[in-house]
Amino acid sequence: MERTMQNLFDLEVTVNGIRHAHAVEPRTLLSDFLRHDLGLTGTHVGCEHGVCGACTILLDGEAVRSCLMFAIQAQGHEITTVEGLGTIDHLHPVQEAFHEAHGLQCGFCTPGILTTVVPFLKQNPDPSEEEIREAISGNLCRCTGYQHIVDAVKLTAEKMKMES
């Protein structure tokens, strides 16, 4: 990690499998780095204080709030954003399930929920409804009333079982 003039740091980070090298100010939030520097606007920014969950990303496979990390802290780590889960032609099972089960309305909270659900189902492939509700307790949705999101997570679990 090289420090340059104007208090910039050379950041090297892998995002969705691609290595990036960028000069960043230490105060740049990871969420802003992903959106503004890399153009990955799938990561949404809601509250910027860790409550809403819209900015959730995967840091070395774990769901974390990207608004509560500085980009520079991702040095040497692997990040997956919602753009890295699947492709338009090959959606991730969680994306297929949310599509099929109507797990979203406006879609603002969806990237954060998808990135939360992926590691959750890896740890717990056969969750109860209560466990699902616990798992998404850190993601606010103001449209759906959550019922269809819970259904979509159940459907994801089924799809992932079929796949494996």
Binding site: P26, R27, L29, E48, H49, G50, C67, L68, F70, S137
Partner: protein, 293 residues
Amino acid sequence: MKPAPFEYYAPTTVEEALSLLTEHGYDAKVLAGGQSLVPMMNFRLVQPSILVDLNNIPDLAYIKPDDGGGLHLGAMTRHHQVEISPLVEERSPLIHSAMPKIAYPQIRSRGTFGGSISHADPSAELPSLCVALDGKFRLRNQKGERWVPASEFFIGLFTTVLEPDELLVEAALPPMPARSGWSLMEVARRPHDFALIGVAAFVTLDEKGLCEQARLVFISAGESPMVAHKAAETLKGQAPSPEVMQEAAEVASSEEIDPSSDIHATADFRRHLAKVLTRRALERAFQRAAGTE
């Protein structure tokens, strides 16, 4: 809002971190998991000129047993690691039971044990639990180290005895005595939110089944973890009857806590909740101590 500019240091050893704190002392803030500090920086409630980031010091993340049956947690141990640790479940069931109540899964992947303790938020669980369990903390600076009991560590709102050149490096929890029981009860508007009020009860029975020792520590009930000494005193030497527990709950909730009113609840309502929760928490703790749960 975005954080104000700061100088950033990412030491890779504790020694390096201590040297930075010695040099920058008052101007520096230590960045642990960042789940409280970064929101405060985003709102510019705090604007540290220097950040010392501990996330690249792997030596500070561990959960170790000691020979006496106690537990040692490195300051940078993430909440999620504590939550899933079989050792914590076995040796400190009170901490184990509390972990899912601490914020949300995404916060627990990142937040740290030592960070929560050092931040000293009176509405956080871990500070009060460490007091209830009679834990102690190891503080280091360049000159050496000192152990401070949890009961003496928290001195006010977001304020601890940590000096600017000191770092909390470890929390130690003593073994659970025989015939001891515990309970944590909280009321929050939504699960995982900061509790409107909460209480941790830790009790020990003697061989005759009388209360030998009791500790009641309240969350969101004042400027720091609030210890109900008088209420605990009323329990000592008594058989744990409903009347005795009710009396302790009355004393604690009316005389020994200092909750404030805010948009979520009035102080009176918090006192009422404290009374009900204390009685329930004591019932549960005594049941566990007696093995009749």
